[in-house]
């Protein structure tokens, strides 16, 4: 595994960079936040991303995708992270596309994948039920009745949950909360009877919802993967999500760091540029090192995913841990080094801090993944 981008991935990165710089600079996010738009992402921008082929990057060519792989989509996520670009890229083009491509039946693939590629539908993955990510703790129930399943329970903090057309839901079909077995994934239309969506307002002003299922009936045809093996299936979907999210968080951190370096080179106090102060220089140099480690970890994880590495779980946890810690550090230092202006809403740097803390929670914090890494390695 070479820890560099190939030509194809570099091309995707360059395209994403010019797209996000021109079409979705941070002001794009600011205007969405300040608007009354409940979507919190822009339909036209998403259609442009679709036209660039981004919705189909993880989807095979026979269903209209490009099959450019996890490294391909992650480099785009990284660029979107730099300008805080909100879009269904993560929930649909990463999670939904990967889940159905890898675990869907032929019928499910034929039904959903072309619609994901064309931008006709968006998806969301509903996992969590309490304040900390923990798939094994699923209590949400699916009980079989007349060849149908009846779903009951509440899913929380579902990314794009307030707008997705299709929900992929983790449910317990047997056993008890806390067990890793007895779990099954279902594909459910978000407009099905008995579904109630409660839009969440989070610090990062992105699209999330809590979703209540009240006797929602789902055909057994809509099981994703095999029944009762949803625990394993969802881990492999989650790992791809964690890697892509780590790439976005790396992008966040890189941009917050750049913004801060620029400020150190412009701001004068005591008659000199504050970037001449060693107290700030050394902290900046330390952040540089952490960013370099993060880049390597994210590269290793995304290539590991495409090469089916037997280390994939460890690499995903490594990437999510390190990107979380680095972004945490950089987002805090960015505010401190900016001084007073850093805590004003008018200035962009605060957006990175708010996004950072929410992204750190998505599919497991650094602490969650350190523990997972330790268990996987035998510490």
């Amino acid at each position: 595994m070479k820890l560099i981008l190939n030509e194809e991935q570099q091309f995707l990165k360059d395209t994403a960079k010019s797209f996000t710089t021109e079409k979705t600079p941070v002001n794009h996010f600011r205007s969405l936040r300040d608007s009354d738009d409940h979507l919190l992402w822009d339909k036209e921008i998403w259609q442009e991303m679709v036209n660039l082929g981004w919705s189909g990057i993880l989807i095979p060519e026979e269903f209209g995708g490009s099959n450019f792989g996890v490294a391909g989509i992650s480099t785009i996520m990284q660029e979107c992270g730099k300008t805080l670009t909100p879009s269904p890229l993560f929930a649909t083009a990463v999670l939904g596309a990967f889940a159905i491509t890898h675990f869907g039946s032929q019928a499910q693939k034929e039904e959903f994948l072309p619609k994901i590629v064309s931008g006709e539908i968006t998806t969301a993955l509903a996992i969590d039920e309490s304040s900390h990510h923990n798939p094994a703790k699923t209590a949400f129930s699916a009980i079989i009745k007349d060849n149908e399943y009846v779903l009951n329970g509440k899913k929380i903090f579902v990314v794009d949950g307030s707008s997705a057309d299709i929900l992929i839901v983790l449910a317990r079909t047997s056993g008890n909360s806390g067990e890793e077995t007895g779990l099954t994934l279902f594909i459910v239309e978000s407009e099905a009877d008995g579904i109630e969506k409660i839009k969440l307002s989070m610090a990062d002003s992105r699209n999330y919802a809590n979703i209540i299922f009240n006797d929602v009936r789902v055909s057994s045809e809509r099981i994703l993967g095999s029944p009762e093996s949803g625990g394993e299936t969802v881990e492999s979907i989650l790992d791809i999500g964690r890697i892509a999210m780590s790439a976005e968080m790396l992008g966040n951190a890189e941009a917050a760091f750049e913004l801060t370096l620029d400020y150190l080179k412009q701001r004068k106090q005591f008659g000199v540029l504050i970037g001449t102060f060693q107290a700030l220089q050394h902290r900046a140099a330390e952040m540089f090192c952490e960013l370099e480690l993060t880049k390597s970890s994210v590269l290793a994880a995304m290539h590991g995913a495409d090469e089916n590495s037997n280390e994939l779980q460890r690499l995903a946890s490594l990437a999510k841990t390190i990107s979380g810690e680095t972004l945490h550090l950089v987002s805090n230092e960015a505010i401190q080094m900016h001084g007073g202006i850093g805590v004003t809403d008018e200035y962009d740097v605060g957006f990175y801090l708010k996004r950072a803390r929410v992204a750190e929670q998505i599919f497991g914090s650094s602490k969650f993944h350190s523990e997972r890494y330790a268990n996987l390695t035998g510490f």
Binding site: Q281, F288, T294
Partner: protein
């Protein structure tokens, strides 16, 4: 492709014939091993160490990419890869440890005259001459450019007077590459030259330094009216600072790789097994949760740092200012690792001497103390942070 395959076959059969039994996998463990640094004063516990060095040196395979006219192997990158693979296959020992190879040779290749390259490179490559480094002085540590050892122009020669410190293995080395002041009136960076000095010259003497960890390879080196021919000046007069910096980058890269290699478990026990031994194990986990999380955090950083070194290789990086990052991170990480190991070993982690403690424990104490020097030698961590802020991040002075 076919050419490379032929080369592989040649290497295979050459190694088969020439790599002595005690220098490869399956060596008789009762035969003593040598740390081979070569040079005129070298002594060998195992005569095959010397045979292996001579044979590899003759092929130029201690510096395989250097041109044959300078005594190197004249191999392409692909061929070097094959050589390394084949050596790895039979578990062949590296034939030579050498500051000449790691630090001086790259500088000679870049700045030396044709005569200097032909004179010195073959002897470095064959391990005939052992080199040491004369940089720091008692009054010039981090502020290296303030160095005061002077070299006066006396016609055909320089007359060198002064003192160097932290010269590793000076008492065992044959020659020293030294920074000397040739321009006392110039600004401090513009009055330094890079000079090669034979340690056997009249007026050179050395004295070993004892560290907090006990015995050390470090020495003080004294120059008392030492006459050095002008032919031994590398590069232009008073242009030594540029050369010094290039050499430091090679040195930093080497130190960081060395630090990581040792972190990957060549010295003593792995920290996880040490923790399980001293703190206990429950269901395969380190019992103490505080230690377990601290060790995990450390191991995660180590994994990421290892990947970063690999990425630098994949990017085809030469020595550059980012070498400062590797030096900084590698040495700081190594210090933390030793602090953790000492802490995990408890009382046994601070053992010094006597029969109540085993050798691993006593060695751990010494290596822990020795790591305190890692973030000082080759430029302190603070100096590396300065280099990164100014030369990588472009922060103003």
């Amino acid at each position: 492709m076919e050419q490379l395959e032929n080369f592989r076959q040649e290497v295979k059969s050459w190694l088969d014939e020439n790599c002595p039994a005690s220098m490869r996998n399956g060596a008789d463990p009762t035969i003593p091993t040598d740390e081979v640094w070569g040079g005129r004063k070298a002594q060998y516990k195992n005569p095959e160490s010397k045979i292996w060095l001579d044979r590899m040196g003759q092929k130029g395979w201690t510096m395989p990419t250097v041109a044959k006219e300078y005594g190197g192997g004249g191999l392409s990158k692909e061929e070097v890869k094959i050589l390394n693979e084949e050596m790895w296959m039979i578990g062949a020992k590296g034939p030579l440890l050498s500051f000449g190879i790691w630090m001086l040779a790259p500088v000679l290749l870049e700045y030396g005259t044709e005569e200097q390259k032909k004179e010195h490179l073959p002897k470095i490559i064959k391990g005939e001459i052992r080199w040491c480094q004369g940089y720091s002085e008692p009054g010039s540590g981090s502020d290296l450019a303030s160095l005061a050892t002077k070299a006066e122009d006396i016609g055909e020669h320089f007359l060198v007077n002064g003192q160097k410190v932290w010269t590793s293995y000076a008492d065992k080395a044959d020659w020293i590459f030294a920074l000397v002041r040739t321009g006392p009136k110039e600004p401090k960076h513009d009055g330094i030259s890079f000079l090669l000095i034979d340690m056997e010259t009249q007026g050179v003497s050395t004295k070993p330094i004892t560290l907090i960890s006990g015995k050390s390879p470090f020495c003080e080196t004294f120059f008392d009216d030492v006459k050095v021919t002008k032919a031994n000046l590398i590069g232009e007069l008073n242009a030594g600072w540029t050369i010094a910096k290039v050499l430091l980058q090679h040195e930093r890269e080497f130190i960081s790789k060395f630090g990581l290699a040792s972190a990957m478990g060549s010295s003593g026990k792995d920290i996880v097994s040490l923790a399980k031994e001293h703190l206990g194990e429950e269901n395969g986990k380190i019992s103490n949760g505080f230690y377990r999380s601290e060790i995990t955090a450390h191991k995660i950083k180590e994994h990421a740092f290892g990947l970063t070194l690999k990425r630098a290789g994949d990017e085809g990086g030469k020595a550059s200012p980012t070498a400062s990052m590797f030096k900084l991170y590698g040495t700081e990480h190594n210090k933390k690792r030793h602090e953790l190991m000492v802490s995990v070993a408890g009382i046994n982690g601070v053992a010094w001497d006597g029969d109540e403690f085993d050798d691993n424990e006593k060695n751990l104490t010494k290596s822990w103390l020795r790591t305190k020097g890692n973030s000082l030698e080759g430029g302190t961590s603070e100096v590396q942070l300065n280099v990164i802020s100014k030369r990588v991040l472009g922060l103003p002075s």
